[in-house]
Symmetry: C2
């Protein structure tokens, strides 16, 4: 059996490893158009910031390691076509320039996403970057060195999503002055409701990051081949380095060629076994949509764990096993400066858009016992369905960043369609250096129960 995998990062390599474990006799080959496989793209900002020593540290497995497990890895090999009827792919070797037709029994499209580059960002000017992969990171590193060679450099980050916010911290720590330009009225995009977006912005501004929301970029200015400024509808912003972090787009080209269906989310549609509508063709990772367990709708939320998990499922199934993807509940988390922000399920905004009868409460408490030296304020918005009391989601913000990881308790409850009362009854662990005696999640559950009760009276 020949298993062909297109894309060698999170989903692709997880699939390769799992397929091999499931069926050690299988012939597994991975075509990766880039020069790196199996790296932790989520760590890219932290190499730039110095919390990770080098880009090499992000690499979980080298091609050599994969090959020693019997997995064929071909770098700089781009799959440019699929013939699902013939069960072949066309592969271009970027070193030799030659193309070849390769047969498959099972094909996995793990083609990921590409960073969106608006028209103004397609430029030859130096110092303008996106950040999706290791070469992007290396290019930014090089620009940062150039910028700081000319005194204190200035970085403009276009886009206030979590990558932009993570980069704001790391570039600030590198000594650059940092400006974030965001089209929307607030940073942190759809991840958080407005009040929680504002807490994130306050953290950035408190650390000296300039934030210009409600501002659209119209173009770039340059001199001697290097960027010098970002032209916006609110004036020109001087810049030595520009990072374009306005979002990503799933790479669905091959899926379309193969005849697979692309969903309304814009990502490839699959069943719970990661199978596309085309016999023998699977899709997994950031290019693929998934089921949201809270809403029962298809969503496209490209994140590391989801990609790895989809890859595993596809790998097992392609190799003759039987695995299913359980869906997501919309958990995400990020750190910027000392602030951690996390969410799971739905925000109040998202619940409203879906026409759900959602009720939220906001609770502020301390992450550790209030009297304990390291305690910081922690803010929680907990959201549930009016009437049923079913939990819908939570948002957390705290200046001890790790304290927001407790969002996972809510994620666990969302999986089982738990109710507010279930949360309130949890026997959560307590000692003063870890939480209050009533963990803030329990306080929120108590408040929300009463709120729901009141509305029902």
């Amino acid at each position: 059996m020949r298993i062909v995998i297109v894309g060698g990062v999170a989903a692709g390599m997880s699939a390769a490893s799992r397929a091999m474990r499931q069926n050690p006799e299988a012939d597994v080959v991975v075509f990766e158009r880039g020069e790196y496989i199996s790296y932790g793209a989520c760590g890219l900002p932290y190499v730039l910031g110095g919390d990770v020593d080098s880009f090499d540290d992000l690499i979980a497995r080298t091609p050599g390691q994969m090959r020693s497990r019997g997995i064929g890895v071909r770098l700089r090999h781009e799959v440019t076509g699929v013939d699902a009827k013939a069960a072949t792919v066309t592969v271009v070797d970027h070193d030799s320039g030659r193309s070849a037709v390769e047969p498959y029994d099972k094909l996995l499209l793990a083609t990921g996403v590409s960073a969106i580059r608006p028209d103004w960002a397609t430029t030859d000017l130096g110092g303008v970057h996106v950040l999706r992969d290791i070469p992007d990171g290396q290019a930014i590193e090089s620009s940062l060195k150039d910028a700081s060679a000319h005194g204190k450099g200035r970085a403009v980050i276009v886009g206030g999503g979590y990558i932009g916010l993570e980069l704001a911290e790391t570039l600030h720590c590198r000594g650059l002055s940092v400006v974030i330009v965001e089209k929307a009225p607030e940073v942190a995009g759809r991840m958080l409701d407005r009040d929680y977006q504002q807490r994130v912005r306050a953290e950035l501004e408190g650390n000296g990051v300039e934030i210009r929301c409600g501002t659209s970029v119209e173009g770039l200015t340059g001199k001697d081949g290097r960027v010098t400024g970002v032209q916006t509808d609110h004036g020109l912003i001087r810049a030595d380095v520009v990072i374009v972090a306005v979002g990503v787009r799933p790479n669905t080209g091959l899926a379309r060629v193969a005849g697979a269906r692309v969903g309304k989310t814009g990502a490839v549609a699959v069943n719970t076994r990661q199978e596309t509508a085309v016999e023998g063709v699977y899709s997994a990772g950031d290019n693929t949509e998934s089921l949201h367990r809270v809403t029962r709708r298809k969503v496209h939320i490209p994140l590391g764990l989801t990609a790895n998990r989809m890859g595993r499922v596809a790998g097992v199934n392609m190799a003759g096993g039987d695995a299913t993807f359980p869906g997501v509940v919309g958990s995400s988390i990020f750190k910027t400066f000392s602030l951690g922000a996390a969410r799971t399920g739905l925000t109040q905004t998202e619940a409203d858009e879906l026409g759900l009868r959602a009720v939220s409460v906001d609770v502020s408490s301390t992450d550790h016992a209030g009297y304990y030296a390291t305690a910081k304020p922690i803010y929680v918005r907990l959201t549930a369905e009016h009437g049923t009391g079913r939990l819908l989601g939570a948002q957390l913000v705290c200046n001890n960043h790790e304290s927001v990881k407790r969002v996972d308790v809510i994620a666990a409850l969302l999986h089982g369609r738990g109710k507010v009362q279930d949360l309130f009854e949890m026997d959560l662990s307590y000692a003063p250096p870890f939480s209050g005696v009533w963990d803030v999640l329990l306080v929120a559950a108590d408040r929300l129960s009463r709120e729901i009760g009141k509305k029902q009276e």
Copy 2:
């Protein structure tokens, strides 16, 4: 309606507040034999260590604040008798020395636990202490000052349970040399399995704490009215201060007098409404047993959250409402030096003792992404029932102490009798400063699924 509450700490004051909220017309009176109410006893070690500024900081509500809510608080009033038929209690006022008979409609026994003092510890020697309440803490503080006035003092902590271990850190940080004497073969008592106890011991020893396990105390030596040493079956240990932390015993005297049943656990038996077997008499807090949701057995695990929760339930019910205590799953957590240790559910040892067919796996990973600067090793033992795959418990240890708070995800699953596969499917939050892409809990679930699968083949 007159509600009388015996004991004004966690359960007692929670009950008083809830009763008042439930029925603002009620006459609620709290008799507290000591001088303080409503304090966080779990914070006592941290005042001594300096992570909390003063003992006053532990006080959540003063008598004045409670009185302004209409709750009667009588300090230094000890309830010495109960006549359940007459529905009265006998109360001694330790200031006037007078006793009075007070009627009640509902009575709550929130009498807590007392520190066990073995025969050798009932002494007039100065410098010998237990740590249960604020006066105990103040007495230790005074002894520490005396000890350090004579150069670098030496503290011997008898008992390696979590209070002993927390104190070891705080006394070490105060500049004392610290010895822990423990009768059992390892520290951390029944909280952890042997391998995890050893990790805790290694942390203490690595920080210069001397640990003598398998050692029994036989007596104390003293000079000029102060303790000078601890005589053990393995020789004499010089000591300037001795802390006796060998466990606690529920205060069940009044419950017995009232005719309430004391369970096999040694604590007061109640139903889910916190009612004892005697009409109108409730019991809540550390003196009371609770239902373990995993084993469905009665247990006595005196901890802060449980006490507060039981108090709430009793308060609501005494005032005419209807609340039930949901039971516990055996979650606990502590910090010593930089190490955090947490457990929930059952250890493998406990599961074996109960005759459950338990399977455990041990996983070591990093708490944050392996490549991220702050990542530390984290060790997880995950335990499930063979055959059904039902989760039974987890133990975690990590040198970023807060990272073990993720034990709460397992606690959440135990509430719903979740399975290993449920855990594996969780959409836990991920970013490099918070966890690996596969959180260590997911890694453990994956490994444990396979282990169970193997055994079933």
